[in-house]
Amino acid sequence: MKRIPLPRLAVILVMATAVLTPLALIVYQSLLSAPFFDPNKKLGFGAFAFIFADPDFWDALRNSFVIAAGMAIIAVPLGAILAFLMVRTDLPGRRWIEPLLLVPVFVSPMVLAFGYVVSAGPVGFYSVWAKSLFGGVPWNVYSLTAIAVIAGLTHVPHVYLYSSSALRSLGSDVEEAARMAGASPFAVARDVSLPMVMPALLFSGVLVFFLGFEIFGLPLVLGDPEGHLVLATYLYKLTNKLGTPSYHLMAAVAVCIVALTIPLVLLQRHLLRNAGKYVTVKGKAGRQRLLPLGTWRWPATAVLVLWLVVTVVVPLSGIALRSVVSSWGEGVVLSEVLTLDHFREVWDQPTLLRGILNTIVIGVVGGALAVACYTAIGLATHRRPDGWSRFVDYLVLVPRAIPGLLAGLAFLWVFLFVPFLSPLRTTIFSVWLAYSVVWLAYGMRLVSSSLLQVGPELEEAARSAGATRGQVNRHVTLPLIRYGLLAAWLLVFLIFEREYSTGVYLLAPGTEVIGSLLVSLWGTGAADIVAALSLINVALVAVGLAVALRFGVKLHD
């Protein structure tokens, strides 16, 4: 057998440890009768028996299914239509709409959920205005349907990203052939474009359904008033329910969630392989003439603008307003309640200031470190189609199947369990490690798409000139992908700013980040501070997005 080079072995082993330890710990904990540090623990299925006997668990499971299915039903058709309009037609204003389409991807769902509460909740800004206009509020954002609809609308960009990139890589010749045969723009979309991106649509449908089991912020905030639980919030509330650390029960729920998500992740992997089935990138693509929409352009624009208003404008404007008013309700005059006190309060609380600073540090420094790790892993498997690379491929999938909340919980246990790691428990390192592992698959996709763009002959030329693999990496591959890595850094920054659920269980003095602070402050009902912090979070994301747009970073592949 060929010997594996030491650096490569080290990278793969460190990665395997970081990925598999939390999962192993969750499974182990779920089979105990008490928290793992309890001396009286016993092996068994008691934890599962307990949660399976709890009607709330089945309620949460059913709600999760309803929300996941509702999300897929709403997001897939809407995302596909938006993608066709944006990529293939002469819709007016495409250039400035494109970045707005991606806003829900980069704004924390916690922030969005809070935005819906303050703008469309029973006494939200828009609800109060609607009441004065119509005499009643025609919607209820706390119902299960509303949660599914909002989750569906905010996941439209995920479908949009995959179907638009599939549409872009579709040769325009097949569409032109249909036009030559006499097909109108509508017939072209129906008979050629959409059937040909069907594999990508199917993939994104499964992706959204899968994300439906992961969502935490939206049901936590919107499901609370009427008591709608989903699996993630059921797990989160278990602590309160029993009053004692019931880690074994949480682990059992976590194993149930992972049992649902792993098959979905494997299904996605299978579908993604087929997603490029009809992709026909031909050398001579030439200039594509966009399909003229004619009179259809106005209804099409209306659909797009309506979606933007409901998913982006309503929640974000609500947060912005709420952060500058002292109170709000019926009969309150806006001009009399304007204030900047909430921001002053944030400034006066060292914990919150440290949270903001930590959020910036984890995005900038942590993002760079994470990209460095992802690059090391990427290079360890780059152009080496062997068993180790396949092992890494599957390892990358593991954190994808573990929702951030569970990963954070598992890393908490790792830091409690492993003696030499426990001093790091109260440092931002613990949060960084959890974030980097949770977003491993995302980061790896960014890095490997850069790596794949390097022509193999460039590396082979260096090999034949006498360079070792390490020298090829340092002298050829890395310099060639440096802009790709910078772009990856920026995107990882955005994702780390947005992340909230992974930090929830790791929250301790010293490890505060805005995301986890929002979850904990929301629990205490401090709406003023939540609004101010949310706006600061949105501002950080906006800065990142502005830099990305300024330098023309592709926000998706």
């Binding site: 032109e176 052939a177 036009r179 030559m180 006499g182 008979d191 009809y278 026909t280």
Partner: protein, 351 residues
């Protein structure tokens, strides 16, 4: 009857002018080739006729119906022009069977299911594809895919069929067979066809008339024979056939003939309109018109043999001395050393 008339067509991408005033006609039952190097605008012209590119000036009329008129802002969209286009990539829809690919144009024209089946079956039979109707495109060979693409473009009887490099995706071996087959098909079905190609042999073999495009304008047009035997410009002479180019000075022009002279040689040729006595000139001779002679004589030049290449059906000899290089075909290998080469006066064009 004239099937297609293009008048003074201009088209540009931004500031980059692609077509700079092209006019042409296509008669019933005629095959016209658009020939030219890459970037000459031949594919753009074809796509403008199809309605897939937008010209900014000029006119296009199909069967006396104006489909584009820059002055009157008339532009009939591609799907309403009722033309058949065979794409270079074939552009078969991978999610439809061969039958459904061909039937699509009829479905859009609301042809009944029974008639559709009949017409598709006969179109497939015409192209020798009867047995493949239920296959998917990726299950076919390149040659079969090409024939499906042609069947798809023919099935609704378009007045003109447009073909964009129809043979370029085939293997070299297959290409010559397909060329003969395509010519035969066009004649048998009495099609009017406009064919884009960059290969002069393909253009000559397939078409009744050739339009040679250069940099967005028509350089010369005519029958294949006219284009090959009587090029009017240096560009046409260079583009058609394999040539020797002799650079020298035009020593004298007399009675339609010109004498081109260089370092130690002097040859008579047919003067073209650009030849001026005393100016630099270029003589063009087809390789097959250079004859190896055994002794000195009229219009002959003596050159040493550099090398001979065996091409199978003939030999190609390379002679060279100083600036002067001549290639010639021969039936047999030649001895080393110097040889006399004869170029008949009519066989060299002096530009």
């Amino acid at each position: 009857m004239t099937k297609l008339v293009v008048g003074d067509l201009h088209l540009s991408y931004g500031d980059n002018a692609i077509l700079k005033g092209v006019s042409m006609q296509l008669a019933q039952g005629e095959v016209v080739s658009l020939l030219g190097p890459s970037g000459s605008g031949k594919t753009t012209l074809l796509r403008a006729v199809a309605g897939l590119e937008q010209p900014h000036r000029g006119t296009i009329a199909i069967e006396d119906k104006v489909v584009f008129d820059g002055a009157r802002s008339v532009e009939v969209p591609a799907e309403k022009r009722n033309l058949g286009l065979v794409f270079q990539s074939y552009a078969l829809w991978p999610h439809r069977t061969v039958f459904d690919n061909v039937a699509y144009g009829l479905k859009l024209r609301n042809v009944s299911a029974g008639e559709t089946k009949e017409r598709v079956t006969s179109a497939l039979a015409n192209l020798g594809l009867d047995a493949l109707a239920q296959r998917l495109p990726h299950q076919l060979s390149g040659g079969q895919q090409q024939r499906v693409a042609i069947a798809r473009a023919l099935v609704y009887n378009p007045p003109v069929i447009l073909m964009d490099e129809p043979l370029s995706n085939l293997d070299a071996k297959l290409r010559e067979e397909a060329r003969a087959w395509l010519r035969e098909l066009i004649l048998r079905l009495e099609l009017s066809a406009l064919v884009v190609t960059h290969d002069q042999n393909e253009a000559m073999a397939m078409s009744d008339r050739i339009l040679l495009l250069n940099n967005g304008v028509i350089e010369q047009q005519g029958t294949p024979e006219e284009m090959y035997a009587r090029p009017q410009t240096l560009f046409t002479a260079e583009f058609m056939g394999s040539n020797n180019a002799l650079r020298g000075t035009v020593a004298e022009v007399r009675d339609g003939s010109a004498r081109l002279a260089g370092d130690g040689w002097s040859l008579w040729g047919a003067a073209r309109s650009t030849a001026r006595a005393g100016a630099a000139g270029t003589g063009m001779v087809r390789l097959e018109r250079v004859r190896v002679a055994d002794a000195a004589g009229d219009n002959r030049v003596r050159l040493p043999l550099v090398t001979s290449m065996y091409l199978g059906e003939k030999w190609e000899h390379l002679f060279s001395a100083g600036e002067l290089r001549l290639r010639a075909y021969g039936r047999a290998p030649l001895a080393k050393g110097e040889h006399w080469l004869e170029i008949a006066r009519d066989d060299m064009w002096v530009f």
